[in-house]
């Protein structure tokens, strides 16, 4: 587990009028069990309006379970979930939150436009159907049957549907799975253009690169817990350090904390593992001030580091 969870963000901003504005998403002590399986093990997360946040983690980290909670598709076992200061279902009913889901289906026998008309009719007020198709870049295939659309086109139709109610919060669950490189780029371009108008976006992904490229803030989850939270640069810095390993019986790990660059300290029996961005300082300190011996210093590749941060190699199940 990382010691330094970086969170410099404001919990709730102040609007022009000085009225306290509710966080776009507020999760407090949220857990979610499915029988004996703990999908979410205690997440506290606040997302300010207008942020683009990546929910980064391997399969089985609890990303989809958390998104389901934010949408009110399931209820937390403990803790509370609020979207724009209200219950998730209340926000959905007002068209304030929408999502592009991994498993959301479409009716094969409708055309693209009919699908959008169907969905648009369900909201008290919605932006125009043509406008949503346009923003998702599929106005050209409006009269095509859904069954004849490619995977990428169907995904952009899902995006158009999500944009219909003009939501304040847009959730995307692994939105580019199965898309080719070009489809992926087009999709993200549409999202970024759209987000410039102040929409809050939370997307789940297991690609560090995708998170780094498109998010302002990355929340790293592992086994149902937030293990790191910060900008792309900060997360990459966390992931790009080195590990100092030493044999140090009765280690006094608290003494390590004041040393600059230390991210995490782990004790395994007589061994101590220190993850740090400044391995020299840690090594020097250990050898001169403690009984530690047998030092090993290992650099990690960024992907390897990410995997170790998120624990993807430890047999998670989705």
């Amino acid at each position: 587990m990382l010691g330094a969870v970086i969170d410099t963000r404001t919990v709730a901003g102040l609007s022009d009028t000085g009225v306290r504005r509710a966080a776009a998403v507020a999760l407090r002590g949220v857990t979610k069990d499915f029988g004996a399986v703990q999908a979410v093990r205690g997440i506290d997360l606040e997302i300010a309006p207008g942020e683009i946040v990546a929910f980064l983690g391997p399969n089985g980290a609890g990303k989809t379970s958390t998104i389901d909670l934010v949408l009110g598709l399931s209820q937390p076992t403990t803790g509370s979930v609020e979207v724009l200061g209200m219950h998730p279902r209340a926000a959905v009913a007002r068209g304030l939150v929408s999502a592009v889901m991994q498993t959301g289906g479409l009716l094969k026998d409708l055309t693209v436009r009919e699908t959008a008309q169907y969905m648009a009719s369900l909201f008290a007020a919605s932006g125009g159907v043509d406008d949503a198709l346009d923003r998702a870049g599929i106005s050209g295939i409006a009269d095509r049957k859904v069954v004849k659309c490619s995977g990428g086109e169907q995904q952009r139709l899902r995006l158009a549907l999500a944009l219909l109610p003009d939501p304040a919060l847009l959730l995307l669950d692994e939105p580019t799975t199965g898309m080719d490189v070009e489809g992926r780029r087009d999709f993200w371009r549409a999202i970024r253009e759209d987000a410039e108008q102040g929409r809050t976006v939370l997307f789940a992904t297991h690609y560090l690169e995708e998170a780094d490229q498109y998010a302002d803030r990355i929340v790293l989850v592992r086994k149902g817990l937030v293990v790191a939270d910060g900008s792309g640069a900060e997360i990459k810095a966390l992931a790009s350090g080195r590990t100092v390993r030493a044999t140090w019986p009765q280690a006094d790990t608290s003494a390590l904390e004041p040393i600059g660059g230390v991210d995490s300290v782990e004790v395994r029996g007589d061994s101590v593992l220190v993850h740090t961005s400044d391995s020299d300082a840690v090594a020097r300190w250990l050898l001169t001030n403690t009984a530690a011996r047998d030092l090993e210093i290992n650099a990690r590749g960024i992907e390897e580091a990410f995997l170790s941060l998120t624990g993807a190699d430890e047999g998670d199940q989705s």
Binding site: G95, G105, L110, S121
Partner: protein
């Protein structure tokens, strides 16, 4: 980069929840259009009953008197019931299919209430059932063989429309038991078999006593007696009991399968 801290363009307090749980004319219109585009359903629900009517009503016995009308009118009510029942069952079976395809999950991201969704499907079943009944009646009336007083025509039609809800529920139930697009392959021949058994295609008086005793227990028997009662002025209590019992059974079956399925949504 993004507009962190910018005033939000969207004012949450200005947003409203749609009335009627999201039910609206556009929604019903698209659902009806989907049904009309389904060629197989249209053929079986319209062409087949109309053809059957012409074959049987054209026989010599077509002009014989039954209740306040004639045999041709009696056959007409039966065929309209069959067509409407098939349409309703096919609409019902779509509920399970849409759920399996993940469409209901997509709908959960909208204000549409799950109960409102079922209500819309029922409404579409009634509308389409009414449409089929009206069309079969208009075609038969233009042929001129069927005769009954106008209020009886209307009464039979309205009662038949209500009876179609039984088969909408049956469709939902079967749709869950037999997943995917196979449901209609069972419902089509199944409803035809039930119609033979229940005396919709052939009057029960033509059957042996043993067959008749079985027929009284089958789902088409009750509703067809109820649908024809404005014409025949006959309605045995066990026919009403049959109609009510099968309706309750299919609704319960559908509700039971749907509640088992909530994990998917």
């Amino acid at each position: 980069m993004s507009a962190v801290g910018q005033p939000l363009r969207i004012d949450p307090s200005a947003r409203r929840v749609p009335p009627l749980g999201g039910i609206n004319p556009t929604l019903v219109g698209i659902e009806v259009r989907r049904m009309l585009r389904n060629r197989r359903t249209v053929i079986f629900a319209l062409v087949f009953p109309v053809a059957m009517y012409f074959i049987f009503a054209g026989q010599s016995y077509g002009g014989q008197k039954v209740g306040s009308g004639n045999v041709a009118a009696y056959i007409l009510v039966n065929m309209a019931l069959y067509g409407a029942a098939l349409t309703a069952a096919s609409i019902g079976s779509m509920v399970a299919m849409e759920r399996a395809q993940g469409w209901s999950r997509q709908l959960r991201l909208t204000p549409l209430n799950p109960a409102a969704y079922i209500l819309v499907k029922s409404l579409v079943a009634l509308l389409m059932g009414g449409f089929v009944i009206a069309l079969v009646n208009v075609i038969a009336a233009s042929q001129g063989r069927a005769q009954m007083p106008t209020p009886v025509w209307v009464e039979c039609g309205v009662v038949t429309v209500v009876c179609t809800l039984t088969f909408a529920s049956l469709g939902v139930f079967i749709g869950y038991v037999v997943p995917g697009e196979n449901a209609m392959q069972i419902l089509g021949p199944g409803l035809a078999a039930l119609s033979f058994l229940g005396g919709v295609f052939i009057p029960l008086t033509q059957y042996s006593e043993a067959m008749r005793q079985i027929a009284y227990w089958t789902p088409m028997y009750g509703v067809s007696e109820v649908a024809r009662s404005p014409l025949t002025h006959e309605l045995p209590w066990y026919a009403v009991a049959n109609a009510v019992a099968w309706f309750a059974l299919f609704v319960l079956g559908a509700a039971w399968r749907m509640s088992k399925d909530t994990a998917r949504v």
